[in-house]
Every structure is written in C-alpha cells, then in structure tokens.
C-alpha cells in the first residue's frame, strides 16, 4: 500500500515537473509558436499508451501460454490504461491540428492508425463484458488481444502507404531530425514522466482486478454455503 502511495507521489511530481519544463524550459518553436508545446504532452501520451498496449499484449501471450489469472489482470489493465492514453492522444491531436492546419481532423496516417488502435482495444474490452465465465473470458480476450496487436503494424502500414494522399505534415516529420537539443531533452523527460504515470495507473487498475477476482471467488463461496 505504501509503495503505491510513493509511486503515486513520484508520478505526480514528475508529471508536474514535465509540464513546467514544457512550458518554461523548452524554447518556443519558430514556425508554429506556442502551439507546439502540446507536442510534449501529446506525443509522450502516445508513447506511454503504446507501451500500455504492449504490456497488454505480453499479458495476453503469457496467459495463453501459462494460464495464470495474473496475466489476464495485466491484459485488462494494460488495455484500459492504454485506452485512456490514446483517448488523450486523439483529443489533443485535433486541438493541435486546428490552429496549425486549420481543420480539426485530418485522415493523417498517424492519427488514423491511432484511431483504429483505439477501436481495436474498445472491442477487446467489449468482448470481455460479453463472456461470463472467468477462464473463458481470459482465454478468448487474450486471443483477440493477440490478433489485434499483430494487426497494428498492418493497419499503420496500410494507412501510411495508401491513405495519405497529401505530403506528410511537416511537424511530425521534423521529429528527431531537426529537433533542438533542449526540446529533445524536455521531450524525453516528458515521455519518461508519462511512463511513470502510466505505471501508476496500471498498478491501480491491476490491484482493482485482483480484488475483483477475490470478491467473485468469495461470492461463489458464500453462495455455495
């Protein structure tokens, strides 16, 4: 319990520090101006969200292989937390796009593949609500999670190569190549902070799932008597 409180405190401190850094330490971008500061939040959330989905995939694989319910807990926690992060990505993306491109939504490759990713994990969670029996639910959703995860590179490849008629937006293209060193440092710090925050949410969600399983077990015991 104390460990979880420490993790929460560290996560919140890191997140506040990264927000401070992205507003006051990082220099203002020349062509885009202030709006570029969303980048530290938007892209860092995207990375943390993908990590959460990856953890979900690992949990799914391990469940199918080892059949321990802990792995199923990891799967559902990763999916839910990843969904929260990609939701933030999908909301902050248009807020960024609006002043820069003049439109809220473009069928840009990254935005669109993130959207499909989001849909896939919504289906994953939906499937979980529709299977009663715990072992069956764990197995079926793990298998769907595996199929969904291997679909992700195919989705982003298909969209990148065949859907983007207009040239890649300049902002994302510049990432890594022409990025100012301070900006880079602030970005990696933000990404780290978001990962710690993601870990905090994941631990909380995992603990909930563990308690839920315990409660379900006890409820069956009580009913049996």
């Amino acid at each position: 319990m104390t460990k979880r409180i420490i993790l929460a405190a560290v996560a919140i401190l890191l997140v506040i520090a990264s927000a401070y850094a992205s507003f006051f330490i990082a220099p203002t971008e020349r062509t885009m101006g202030v709006i570029q500061r969303i980048f530290y939040f938007h892209v860092a959330s995207a990375w943390a969200g993908f990590t959460a989905f990856f953890l979900c995939f690992i949990g799914n694989l391990l469940y199918v292989w080892r059949r321990k319910q802990q792995y199923d807990w990891l799967g559902v926690s990763g999916a839910e937390v990843g969904l929260a992060f990609t939701t933030v990505v999908l909301i902050t993306g248009p807020i960024w796009a609006h002043p820069v491109w003049g439109i809220w939504w473009t069928w840009d490759a990254r935005l669109t593949s993130t959207f499909v990713l989001w849909l896939l994990y919504v289906s994953y969670l939906l499937l979980r609500t529709l299977v009663e029996e715990p072992d069956r639910r764990a197995l079926l959703s793990s298998l769907f999670g595996i199929f969904a995860f291997i679909d992700v590179p195919l989705v982003s490849g298909a969209i990148r190569w065949w859907r983007t008629q207009h040239p890649q937006p300049v902002i994302m293209g510049g990432q890594g190549s022409g990025l100012d060193p301070t900006m880079k440092a602030v970005f990696f710090f933000s990404a780290f902070a978001m990962h710690v925050f993601m870990a905090f949410l994941l631990v909380e969600r995992y603990a909930l799932e563990r308690m839920q399983t315990e409660a379900d077990f006890l409820a069956r015991e009580v009913e049996a008597q």
């Binding site: 939040f41 929260a84 960024w96 949410l201 308690m211 839920q212 015991e221 009580v222």
Partner: protein, 47 residues
C-alpha cells in the same frame, strides 16, 4: 503568444480525461473493497 488558449485547453482536457479514468478506477476499487468486506463478514458467520 498566439494559440496559448489551445495549449491550455489540450492540457486541461487531457488531464481531465486522466482524472476521470482514475476516478472510475478509484470508485470501482472502493465498491469492490466494500463488497469484499461484506463477503468476508458473511463467510465466518455461515460456518
């Protein structure tokens, strides 16, 4: 300082989403904890 409002909106809404998510987890956790207490009390009595 053009577009500063958009940046603030993004941070506000983004953290709002995270806060809401945390809130749902916390609420579900306290509900399950109460349920767990109730069941634990029920079990020894029945025995």
């Amino acid at each position: 300082m053009k577009n500063l409002d958009s940046v603030f909106a993004a941070y506000l809404i983004g953290w709002g989403v995270f806060f809401l998510f945390y809130l749902t987890v916390a609420r579900r956790t306290s509900a399950v904890r109460a349920e767990l207490e109730r069941l634990k009390n029920q079990l020894p009595k029945a025995k």
